[in-house]
Assembly symmetry: C2
Homo-oligomer: 334 residues x 2
């Protein structure tokens, strides 16, 4: 097994976020379930867009956000995801590569446009999302570059990847390549509805392909169909090497080798927008693992990254996370 030259390879749905303000009446008129992420088709996306207010566009996608965190922490990364060769696809590619993340997946030259997530923010700070997967449905096993995956210490996959039809095969190929190279595979469960859509697949994966699992309380409870977090935590033990379970302001719990480590949430002056909290927590834990740091330290880095992201609008870091982590004394100084 040769030394890894990449810290983390992230695989996910490459999505441009379109964020607008809306009120409850609008959500009701559009028949949207507040707080939920709903998959929508192109016609519905166009219709909803034509009804909603002026927007702000920014690159998003769960694994894309996590890779932004890895880059900001000073880690090296690669991203695998599918855009179309259109203007939003060019923006998405620019934003990933401008962070120093390698992104070689070719853009689709035919088929649906680059994916977008229409995000409606209500005055209480909650987000209600309609996602048009667009070109993401074209991601397939042929897009997994085995050299990239074999070179990465950890290959990280978002659960949302199970929504487009062929990405599951891409996931399986990536997992096989990573394990053949002696590397680790991480999975995030993404959201409780996503778990509901793919529970059997996820349970199978966790018993075989996944070394590191990320989930929040609602997701891990949905996976094991229980309301009891402790039961869900007990159920996942033994299936994965490391489980990192987040509980919002209650912090997180890291399970490994029969031990459990409780990690407090990092203090936040004001919670502005919770989007990306899980994605950035994963950045911190993954970064810590690639640096060989003890699990509680990995969790503390994750807490710090999550605190940064929820203190402003948007799911990509604004502060330099490497400096935040260094000034908190969480990484050995070079």
């Amino acid at each position: 097994m040769s030394a890894a030259t990449i810290d983390v390879a992230g695989i996910g749905n490459a999505i441009v976020d379109v964020i607008a303000h809306a009120d409850e009446t609008f959500l009701a008129a559009e028949g949207m379930a507040k707080g939920a992420m709903t998959l929508i088709d192109a016609a519905r996306a166009n219709q909803l867009y034509s009804h909603m207010g002026p927007g702000i566009e920014s690159s998003g996608g769960s694994a894309g956000n996590t890779m932004a965190g890895i880059a900001s922490l000073g880690g090296s990364g690669a991203y695998i995801g599918k855009v179309r060769d259109d203007a939003l696809g060019a923006i998405y590619r620019h934003d990933i590569t401008a962070m120093g993340i390698r992104f070689d997946t070719p853009a689709a030259s035919t088929g649906p446009a680059t994916a977008r997530c229409l995000i409606l923010v209500t005055s209480d700070g909650q987000r209600t999302m309609g996602t048009y997967l667009g070109a993401c449905v074209d991601l397939g096993p042929e897009d997994i570059d085995p050299r990239v995956v074999a070179a990465a210490q950890i290959t990280y996959l978002e659960g949302y990847l199970f929504d487009p039809p062929r990405a599951k095969a891409a996931f399986r190929r990536a997992s096989a390549v990573a394990h053949a190279a002696g590397r680790m595979v991480a999975l995030s469960l993404s959201d409780p509805f996503c778990v509901g859509r793919h529970r059997d697949d996820f349970l199978t994966l966790i018993s075989g392909d996944v070394d590191i699992l990320f989930a929040n309380e609602a997701e891990i409870c949905s996976l094991y169909e229980t309301d009891d977090f402790d039961k869900a935590a007990a159920a996942v033990r033994g299936h994965v090497k490391i489980a990192a379970l987040t509980r919002s302001e209650k912090g997180s719990m890291l399970l490994a080798d029969g031990q459990s480590h409780a990690v407090p949430a990092a203090p936040v002056a004001r919670v502005v927008d919770t989007t990306g909290a899980g994605d950035l927590y994963a950045s911190g834990v993954l970064y810590g693992l690639t640096r060989g740091l003890p699990l509680p330290t990995c969790g503390a880095i994750g807490s710090l990254c999550a605190a940064e992201i929820i203190s402003h609008v948007g799911a990509r870091p604004e502060a330099a996370l490497d400096k935040l982590v260094a000034s908190a004394g969480l990484v050995p100084q070079g």
Copy 2:
């Protein structure tokens, strides 16, 4: 003269902003003059974009920002500007029309892409801009819908419109149509460098076509090539019906009918980003004029709108300006 059915028709460069963080070293390496807006061509825009960090996209353009303010104040408006029939053009059109502003100018189906302004924000909050005018160069007199201009109480034009070659003819046509219908024409000088590029044109216009002039201290001083604000203010008297001259934290001065009204700046807890201050001040003054309010009240509404825009990142209002103005007691309650 029939009653106006539109409060304000704005004509400007339809530009999508791409905002990214940068440091002084980056500006120096790119040879950019800090704080300035520089016109760049497509090749330079692509080069600069490839060098800069991840961005956030939002609709901008000076007159577009002003029309967003008019809409938020509860006024009716129309926008005339040129985009290409591409993804950024569709975003620009959506954002204008989603505010309730009429926008009928057909998109160009050939020629350059929709305009973009690459904005680099340094840690001191200053913005350094490179503008690629793209499809804006295709705006011409044929894009002036005489029914729209004749129906608007005030036709408002941004000075930046003199940069693309054919827009000057569009401006002249709009001005002629407006005056033939007994309406008023307003002009913003946009920025001191813009004044330097088009000083003779602006001086001619102000002596004939322009009823209401908006300028900040640097712009009016540049127009009359003086360092003395009072001299510049004296020079503009008699040329226009109303001159609204802004002086940042010193507030503004409204000149009309041999009188001058000093209006204080509205208080701001923290200045976050000054972009759009002039555009939104113009929204407030124009709105007040269309409601027949006294000049000092028009200025006070302008100050309030400017204060809202500089208290957050971005040049389009986040708060409902109609509510802000109503709670400040500046408009008669219905």
